[in-house]
């Protein structure tokens, strides 16, 4: 299936959960990432149970301090 992750379209295996996508995309510190799925912020507690569908738009949103550092 195709997903649009942070504006870029790529192929992914079917039945992928948001949690697994975070791993697959090698997102560092997934606890600190907010996920927007098709225009709505997804509750963190739903990451494991939310299965992505073909054409879904996913945005990873990162904490950014003002010169302080993460990642």
């Amino acid at each position: 299936m195709k997903l649009i992750v942070n504006g870029k379209e790529s192929d992914f295996a079917d039945s992928l959960t948001v949690s697994k996508l975070l791993v697959e995309q090698k997102v560092k510190m997934p606890d600190m990432v907010s996920v927007e799925l098709n225009g709505q912020i997804l509750r963190r507690t739903k990451f494991g149970e939310t299965i992505l569908k073909d054409g879904d738009k996913v945005e990873f949103l990162y904490f950014m301090g003002g010169g302080c550092g993460l990642n």
Binding site: M32, E36, I41, Y62, M64, G66, G67, C68, G69, L70
Partner: protein
């Protein structure tokens, strides 16, 4: 009132703009903007807003200028090392434009003092360097309904969003709470490209001026992200979050309180 001849000359490049004009410049002269943090983001914002003739500019910071600040905090000069940041910033803003009022607050915003300060202003620029302050500003601006520009910078990346509290997506709509303490390395390890602060802080000043003039499209319900290495600029559309603990349907945050400091020991932090 009307503009004096000297003002017409000073602001002529604004006044000639159809979207500003004499009336718009008068609006700016009668406006009040608060900059919280006289650091990397607050420096260009303060300089440009002073130059633009924003009539009253407040600036909040409790720190003194440190040598490590000068790589990006362009409102402070080498001769200012050791001087209170608000004083240093005030001097430069007055030097650019002696006709504006600068109010300085040599303090750190907290749940006790922030509302009394921000209520006096039309727009707030969050130029702070830590998450508890960013959440406090978001919450205080929500409870007092003061519009603000949020921004963050890190290494080569920056992001910003403009919030009209109660009307558009707020910081807690995106991030419900500050990051956990053990997930955040110390700020001195990460670094930041100095000019990135100039880019993002200047965009914050742009949003303030647009808001004050009522022109263009504000960066509301949209997070702008910028990668200085690739020069990718993205606008991520973000709808309000019904589960937002502050402005959602069932808010859990009903009064202002300080979030625990989780990023670093700010007294020794030179970020």
């Amino acid at each position: 009132m009307g503009l004096t001849e000297q003002q017409i000359e000073r602001y002529s490049r604004h006044i000639i703009l159809e979207q500003v004009g004499g009336a718009g410049q008068e609006k700016l002269l009668n406006s009040k903007v608060l900059i919280i943090g006289a650091g990397g983001l607050g420096a260009p914002a303060g300089l440009y807003l002073a130059a633009a003739g924003v009539g009253t500019i407040g600036i909040v910071d409790s720190d003194k200028v440190d040598l490590t600040n000068l790589q990006r905090q362009i409102i402070h000069h080498t001769s200012d090392v050791g001087v209170e940041k608000v004083k240093s910033a005030e001097n430069k803003m007055r030097a650019i434009n002696p006709n504006i009022a600068v109010r300085t607050y040599q303090t750190r915003v907290d749940a006790e003092n922030i509302s009394d300060i921000i209520r006096q202003y039309d727009f707030v620029i969050d130029g702070t360097d830590n998450f508890p302050a960013k959440f406090l500003i978001n919450d205080a601006c929500y409870f007092n309904r003061v519009p603000f520009s949020h921004a963050g910078i890190l290494r080569f990346d920056g992001q910003l969003i403009t919030v009209l509290p109660g009307e558009t997506t707020c910081y807690r709509c995106i991030f419900s709470a500050p990051p956990p303490a053990d997930a955040v390395p110390s700020c001195s390890q990460a670094g930041v490209l100095g000019v990135l602060a100039g880019v993002i802080g200047s965009w914050q000043a742009t949003e303030a001026i647009k808001y004050l003039l009522g022109i263009g499209d504000l960066l509301t319900n949209t997070l702008l992200t910028y990668d200085a290495l690739t020069m990718d600029v993205r606008k991520v559309r973000l709808n309000r979050n019904v589960n937002c603990p502050l402005c959602g349907e069932n808010p859990q945050i009903t009064e202002l309180k300080d979030e625990g400091q989780v990023v670093c020991d700010l007294k020794s932090c030179k970020c």
